[in-house]
């Protein structure tokens, strides 16, 4: 019993470290940028069908691209964000990968 109590403190440290290590894999983003060519209806359609967003979410992100110049459409591990970026390029959208800003 005493030993188990003694182990409790290091265990907490391990949990803390695990939390810190869990940060990097999800610290990348796929960003879609505004361009003067792609139609709003098309961008909304791509967001909805590729990412599986509901219509309202796809609309909100499309409008963010249009009005703010860009929108973060996905967050996660770098390889996954690159796969999404590749898919956006396949649809002709101007997408980039970046680290989540600190």
């Amino acid at each position: 019993m005493g030993m188990m109590a003694g182990l409790a403190t290091p265990d907490l440290d391990v949990v803390d470290e695990t939390d810190l290590r869990a940060q990097p894999p999800s610290s990348w983003q796929t960003v879609v940028w505004n361009d003067p060519v792609n139609l709003m209806s098309y961008v909304r359609h791509v967001f909805r069908t590729y990412f599986g967003f509901d219509t309202a979410t796809a609309e909100r992100l499309m409008l963010a691209v249009h009005h703010d110049g860009h929108a973060v459409v996905a967050r996660g591990p770098r390889e996954v964000m690159e796969a999404h970026t590749h898919a956006m390029h396949d649809f002709g959208l101007w997408a980039t990968v970046r680290k989540e800003p600190a």
């Binding site: 359609h45 390029h89 396949d90 990968v97």
Partner: protein, 160 residues
């Protein structure tokens, strides 16, 4: 043949023009292995604007796939238009309406091709903002017409 999900109604003349433009687009893609064409560059955007090495590596891994897809898509559009080989029959009435029935794969190929053709046209026309538009230039008419067709297709697909 996948299930038909959308039918496009276009005139014979329009189909002929469209096939001509998509055929030129296919040639631009085919020539891109030799040339440094800014219109093709727009189809392969920089994935890492602040990191040339990462951008180059990303393009090395995805570029051939993206250009190959553009060529495959264009071939599907020409095939479904019935114009992947010879000319349109001279006896056909150019004003008669042609129905182009598309399955899911074909509709996607059409959508991506119309979008990519617009990107290439926009680069050729120097369109850099939504206000860059010259109504007197017939090339802008083609650009708008492709956009009209793309919007109609997207609307039809969204309605399903």
């Amino acid at each position: 043949m996948s299930e038909q999900i959308v039918v496009l109604e276009i005139s014979g003349l329009e189909a002929l023009h469209l096939a001509g433009i998509v055929g030129q687009f296919r040639d631009v893609i085919a020539d891109s292995r030799r040339d440094d064409d800014p219109a093709v560059a727009r189809l392969l955007p920089d994935a890492y604007p602040d990191d040339d090495d990462a951008t180059r590596e990303f393009r090395r891994l995805t570029g051939d796939d993206l250009l190959g897809r553009r060529a495959d898509d264009a071939a599907i559009v020409l095939r479904t238009l019935g114009m992947d080989g010879g000319d349109l029959d001279a006896d056909d009435d150019p004003d008669a309406t042609i129905s182009v029935a598309l399955g899911e794969t074909e509709a996607l190929a059409w959508m991506r091709t119309l979008s990519a053709v617009r990107l290439v046209l926009a680069t050729r026309l120097g369109i850099q903002s939504e206000d860059d538009h010259q109504p007197d230039d017939p090339r802008f008419g083609i650009y708008d017409w492709i956009g009209y067709r793309l919007d109609g297709l997207v609307t039809a697909l969204d309605r399903r």
